[in-house]
């Protein structure tokens, strides 16, 4: 059996510094129509780490991803992404930064007038300096990664929900971004397709070691990610060997009433005495 990925302790510094933190939220608040959604939240996403964000509907999970991308501006607080303060950046500067970030939207958000090839190649074509051969090669690679090569000429309307998510993942990873943001990638999918999507996310995490924020309602998805690794030789996701601890750079963040009530790893989550958290994970 292939060895699990490098232990988290080796990959992450014990004391997070600015360079090691890919995303930093500092006392971020935002309200929509006078209703507070996030109320002074702070957290950090370390390099190579995957952080799963939980909370009930309307708790501001997706808003965190949009704030990270600078698609919405916070009312208060600072957000640093790859060292840049996105709260102070102009829209033009944000377009440059966003090229280093991949995002998988809740409902895939594929461009319905473009084919799968054009959707996946969108960012490469927009950059303008990538040759046609290179675009074709990278599109094929990205689609091969999500096992969707056969759908290259199809349009989004011809794909199932799970296939659309996979194409959305291919579109997000085609430029090998430094950060990936997943907004409920398994929402509305059947358990088998959900597992396929989670396997792809685990594959991306362990093969390319991309830092990522994952918003999900499904706690089991995050636990699978925390307890499995991707075996490159077998080309499949496998459970960690018994007794191994801390090998997976995976953290959990739980939101309640606009505040962060938990930020830690799977072990800490399982040992939490907080009544709300215990009810949430039960």
């Amino acid at each position: 059996m292939a060895a699990p990925p490098t232990a988290i302790e080796q990959r992450l510094p014990s004391q997070p510094d600015a360079a090691a933190n890919i995303v930093v939220f500092e006392n971020v608040s935002i309200a929509f129509e006078d209703k507070p959604v996030l109320d002074g939240i702070s957290f950090r996403l370390a390099k190579g780490e995957t952080k799963a964000i939980f909370g009930v509907a309307g708790s501001g999970k997706s808003t965190i991803l949009k704030l990270t991308l600078g698609l919405v501006k916070p009312d208060d607080g600072r957000i640093y992404v790859l060292g840049d303060d996105v709260t102070q950046m102009s829209e033009d500067a944000l377009f440059e930064l966003r090229r280093k970030i991949g995002m998988v939207f809740q409902e895939s958000a594929l461009f319905d007038s473009l084919s799968v090839r054009e959707n996946v190649a969108f960012r490469l074509l927009e950059e303008g300096h990538v040759s046609e051969e290179e675009v074709e090669k990278r599109v094929r690679e990205a689609l091969s990664f999500v096992e969707m090569e056969e759908a290259v000429n199809k349009f989004p309307a011809e794909l199932s929900g799970g296939m659309r998510r996979r194409v959305a993942i291919a579109r997000a990873i085609v430029t090998q971004p430094e950060v990936l943001l997943y907004d409920s990638p398994t929402g509305g999918l059947d358990p088998v397709t959900s597992t396929t999507i989670i396997q792809l996310i685990v594959k991306q995490r362990d093969v390319y070691q991309t830092s990522s924020l994952l918003v999900t309602h499904r706690l089991q998805d995050a636990f699978i990610m925390a307890t499995h690794y991707f075996d490159r030789k077998a080309n499949e996701m496998r459970p960690l060997p018994p007794g191994s601890r801390g090998e997976i750079p995976m953290a959990f963040l739980i939101l309640r009433d606009g505040k962060v009530i938990f930020d830690g790893d799977a072990r800490e989550l399982a040992q939490s005495k907080d009544e709300y958290i215990r009810e949430y994970i039960s």
Binding site: L69, F95, R98, M103, R123, E126
Partner: protein
């Protein structure tokens, strides 16, 4: 129906004017900034220009024809049927050609833009485009504005010509006028000022149609119902704005050219 306070209404109105002005200004400013999407402009020009050709031809032809029919009745009373060509020519070139073409294109394309962009907003495609590092204003709005302004100019010329042909067909076929007389009077009456007025207006109308359509599309909220509402509002607003702009542009141009 929910009542809204006067303060909220005033705030919303100011916000709408501000957002629309920003979009309209950006659509022009983007012409001078990279990247420029020529392929998208050509695609939109085909959709807006070539796609609108059948309705513009029909509208122009029958407007000219019915203008000739109605005017002939009055002109005959004064024994001035020979002026029919002049009347159709001035009426079509200065006013009816630009306005009716503008209204037809507004009905077809302003709604199309609002529904297309609105659907992209509610399915997060606009957010996805921004997330992929592309400015939707440059990629979606500016090509539509440029193409509409450019194509409406030529559609209006076609409409004017077809209006004259329609008037000529009625003059020759139903009123028994000499074709040469009709066409020579129609041609001779036109001055530079008439043609200039008739060709400035489609540029303004094209800008109104595309910016209003894009504005309502980009600001669509509330799922499919919101897209439907945006589409209706786009057609109504762009049609009303065309008539308003027409009045003020006519007044201004008449003042410039010294018409009374």
């Amino acid at each position: 129906m929910e009542l809204i306070s006067p303060t909220e209404f005033a705030k919303d109105t100011v916000q709408t004017v501000q957002d629309y002005s920003h979009l309209a200004g950006q659509s022009i400013a983007n012409l001078f900034r990279y990247p420029r999407y020529f392929a998208d402009m050509l695609q939109q020009a085909d959709l807006i220009g070539v796609g609108s050709l059948p309705i513009v031809i029909l509208t122009g032809f029958f407007t000219g024809a019915v203008l000739a029919l109605n005017s002939a009745n009055t002109l005959q009373r004064f024994g001035s049927l020979s002026l029919l060509g002049q009347l159709v020519s001035v009426g079509m070139v200065r006013e009816l050609g630009p306005v009716l073409t503008g209204l037809m294109v507004a009905g077809r394309n302003s709604s199309g833009m609002a529904s297309e962009l609105g659907s992209m907003v509610v399915t997060e495609q606009i957010d996805a485009m921004r997330a992929l590092g592309t400015d939707p204003m440059k990629k979606l709005v500016t090509p539509r504005v440029i193409s509409t302004v450019f194509m409406l100019f030529f559609l209006t010329i076609i409409s004017d010509l077809l209006g004259l042909v329609g008037g000529g067909a009625v003059a020759r076929g139903l009123l028994g006028m000499d074709s040469h007389q009709y066409w020579s009077s129609a041609w001779q009456i036109l001055t530079f000022q008439d043609v200039f007025m008739g060709l400035v207006k489609p540029l303004l109308f094209g800008f109104v149609i595309s910016t209003v359509g894009c504005y309502y599309g980009i600001s669509a909220r509330g799922g499919t119902q919101g897209v439907g509402r945006a589409t209706t509002q786009a057609v109504v607003a762009s049609s009303v704005f065309i008539l308003l702009v027409d009045f003020f542009a006519t007044k201004l141009l008449m003042a410039i050219f010294g018409y009374r």
